[in-house]
């Protein structure tokens, strides 16, 4: 399997009054045409890892890496022009919160059409038809209405799906999905996962699936990176997740309530300072 994305020794730190805070520490992984899950609690650095790959780290932060390359292109010193040619058509990211990530003064349809037309010379009608079809594909019941709607006129789940449609319509080679399904209802969640799954299978897209939901990740991804305090503490095949070695991974798994579980107290996570070492 060819490695589309190579990350070696990625570090991200933010300045603070008490010196730099290292939110991502020495993260190393490669990604082929597969589904890679990144799990961890809030603040574990999983979103910042995704953002650093796309060069979307805030300007105040420092990003260093021994190697950061996508399809042979070195991303560490990429020019603005290179980034423009990559972001959107080649690699893109579905953000967590549609409220802040969609343009509030443009209709949803225009935003999707814009994303589609940037990758080629599609005509206006063509792009419109594709956009409506894409909205339908993400299970929006009334795609024509949503096409004409502004983001504030949509519910959170609908906005999330509109954004998924916008990122998928450009058919990128690498997609980073940051907590895409957390705001969605379980049944819709599965629809969205099916779409992503189809893209990986049929088009050979590479997918980085960032989530705090271990159960979902273990059932959907091929491989899982478990992050704690900015570090990857464990890398494991998703189907072996239940036999995870690291106490943190085990702790995360055990503290989930189960439908078939008894009603006794749930296990809680005891954090070991040694995990930080």
């Amino acid at each position: 399997m060819t490695n589309m994305l190579q990350v070696e020794g990625l570090n991200v730190s933010f300045p603070s009054r008490d010196g730099p805070v290292r939110v991502v520490r020495d993260v190393t992984f490669t990604l082929g045409r597969e589904r890679l899950g990144i799990v961890g609690e809030s603040g574990s650095g999983k979103s910042q890892t995704g953002r650093a790959i796309l060069g979307l780290t805030p300007a105040s932060a420092t990003v260093t890496a021994d190697k950061l390359s996508f399809d042979g292109i070195d991303l560490r010193h990429a020019s603005a022009k290179t980034w423009r040619s990559l972001r959107g058509p080649r690699m893109s990211m579905i953000m967590q919160d549609p409220k802040y990530s969609l343009n509030p003064v443009m209709t949803v349809g225009r935003q999707i059409v814009e994303a589609y037309r940037r990758r080629g010379d599609a005509t206006r009608t063509d792009a419109r038809n594709r956009a409506v079809a894409m909205l339908e594909a993400v299970q929006i019941r009334d795609p024509e209405r949503v096409f004409e709607a502004y983001p504030h006129e949509l519910s959170g789940g609908m906005g999330q799906r509109a954004m998924i449609a916008m990122m998928l319509i450009a058919e990128p080679d690498l997609l980073i999905a940051d907590e895409v399904t957390s705001a969605l209802d379980v049944t819709v969640q599965l629809d969205v996962l099916r779409i992503l799954d189809g893209l990986v299978r049929d088009r050979g897209m590479g997918l980085i699936f960032i989530s705090h939901d271990l159960r979902l990740v273990s059932s959907f991804c091929d491989r899982v990176l478990v992050m704690y305090a900015g570090r990857v503490v464990e890398e494991i095949a998703a189907r072996d997740l239940h036999s995870a070695q690291h106490p943190y991974t085990q702790g995360l798994l055990n503290c989930l309530p189960q439908i078939d579980g008894d009603s006794g107290p749930l296990q809680t996570l005891t954090r070991d300072p040694a995990w930080l070492a």
């Binding site: 379980v186 996962l193 989930l256 309530p257 107290p265």
Partner: protein, 252 residues
Amino acid sequence: MSALIEVRDLAVTFGSRQSQVQAVQNVSFDVQQGESFGLVGESGSGKSTVLRAICGLAPTSAGTIKIDGKLLASPRDPAFYAQVQMVFQDPYGSIHPRHTIDRVLSEPLAIHGFKNAEDRIEKALNDVGLGGGFRFRFPHQLSGGQRQRVAIARALILEPQILLLDEPTSALDASIQAEVLNLLDALRIEKGLTYLLVSHDLAVVAHMCERLLVMQHGTRVEELTRTALQGRDATQKYTQQLLVASEGFKAP
């Protein structure tokens, strides 16, 4: 024994005549003293609206709500709030950002004219496992889990019989969720509380509640016991779908 909470044919309608939204229609259920009852459904299914209607935060357009066999006065009187308290979903939004925890907890006491505020605040903080050290902090100095504990302490400080819990852990990480659920469980046994818990997560409801009501589009789908849920003994298609979906993704 008659039920502690008795909801009959509840309907909630929002909006004016031109654009009416029937958020809840014909929902009925009973909750016994000391029981924990779950309301499950997707967003927009009206489960939170039911809680808000009980609390008097949403208008009831039809049906009756009785607590302890008595019809509720509208607007709700102080005695109601001494008996029924609510914990909201978002611990980041439900606590005043510029009030200390002490002030957040003293306000309900002042409203209800309790004299021994000092002791009660200490006790409420201890009950939720925070301790006095947190008393003079501001919400932004607490983590999400700690804030939700403060929200629970605020609800408990009036010593209510009934807690209405609206997605109490959905904004929290899995590890913190376990701590808060354990806390709620322990408090229920210790104080003999009755819970009405709203959640979209079947696993959370199965863990916390003896009985549950599944809702969709503002109407009831079916009522199940925990045992029936664990035996996958759902008669309605929608509940079966939810059960399948809660098992995670299966490749087609």
